[in-house]
Amino acid sequence: MSSSTENAPAAGDYIVHHLTHLTNTGHKQTAVIDWTIINVDTLFWSVSMGVLAIIIMVIAARRATSGVPGRLQGAVEMLVEMVETQSKAIVHGDRRFIAPVALTVFVWILFMNALDFLPVDLLPRIAELFGVHYQRIVPTADLNGALGMSLGVLLLCLYYNIKIKGFGGWVHELFTAPFGNHPLLYPVNFVMQMIEFIAKTVSHGMRLFGNMYAGELVFMLIALMGSTATALGFFGHVVAGSIWAIFHILIVVLQAFIFMMLTLVYIGQAHESH
């Protein structure tokens, strides 16, 4: 894909190829929604990163002492304290599950996003050696990955709504908030609530997906520059690649943090009555 004499369609092919998931069918998904298809690459990398994050945190937790902490313990403790402080400020109620969810979300997404730092061609090329022709390694740059997590947050919101307010209380709130308790306002309120839930969930997932997808795309465009194998292309690749990678450090951490904060905010809203 990186021969020096590529023309425009070939560059397009390169991008399209890189944006094609490895699916269980082995073919590119054609329909917009097809529940029979599963993205093996997204699943593999997200589970791998999840397991890696968990293993690191479990090691730190196992070794945790109240004495002088080591570097790993100190780092994980900083994360835990940061999450604990945020969750305490945002969610008022039982946080035994919510705070760990926020920590998981932050570390997991951080790790998945960080896969973007690997050269865009490195892992797909290695996979190709083993006969795997499509490989997208950043799970958060897959809408399924990002929306899957935001759907999880939605389910948690519904669960805590019912747990805190009771099913009746929640239904009551669905029809009386935000505009008020009047029969004429019931449908308006309900529609608003539904829009709110959908908008929250979609924007939650889409924000992460959009940022990571765009970041990945920019890395591919930069890689295309290098693939011209000219002095200018090489120079451009090095300079632009460095700048974008450095800038991407911010995006990777920021998006993980934003996702975590929104998770806490949405769950916190489920704890508050209108």
Partner: protein, 156 residues
């Protein structure tokens, strides 16, 4: 930008990871953090207490020092007074002893003089008698004139 079953797989993974974190990661770390916070709080409290103790001990030491100084001064003045008293007593005693000795010596001297006088008187009487005897051997009978002689002896 296609949706497929990956969505639900990711959803499941989300909850598995979250549960795992809640079960195995969060509690030990929070426990360690809380314990350390407790230790630090204890340490700070102990430091505060030690500081308070130090102030207390310093105050007590100063108090003790003052006490000791006071009692030392008291002792010293008491000892001085006692020494003066002892000196006075000794002086009186010495004067008494000296005067008693003088009196005793005087009395002894008186007695000795008396005794010497007596002995002298005795010998003078004897001498007188012997003289008189020699003079009067022929004409005086000592027996007839005993009364006269004893009268003479007492008059010496």
């Amino acid at each position: 930008m296609n949706l497929n079953a990956t969505l639900f797989a990711q959803l499941a993974v989300f909850f598995v990871l979250a549960w795992f974190t809640m079960r195995f990661v969060w509690p030990p770390i929070m426990k360690a953090l809380d314990e350390r916070a407790g230790k630090i709080a204890d340490g700070l409290a102990a430091a505060d207490k030690a500081k308070a103790d130090l102030v207390h001990a310093e105050k007590k030491a100063a108090e003790e020092l003052r006490h000791a100084r006071e009692s030392a001064a008291e002792f010293r003045s008491g000892a001085e007074k006692q020494a003066a008293q002892l000196l006075e007593e000794a002086r009186t005693e010495a004067a008494r002893v000296v005067s008693a000795a003088r009196e005793a010596a005087q009395a002894e001297a008186g007695v000795a003089a008396q005794r010497a006088k007596e002995a002298l008187r005795e010998q003078v009487a004897l001498l007188a008698v012997a003289g008189a005897e020699k003079i009067l051997r022929k004409e005086i009978n000592p027996l007839a004139h005993a009364e006269l002689l004893s009268q003479l002896k007492s008059e010496l």
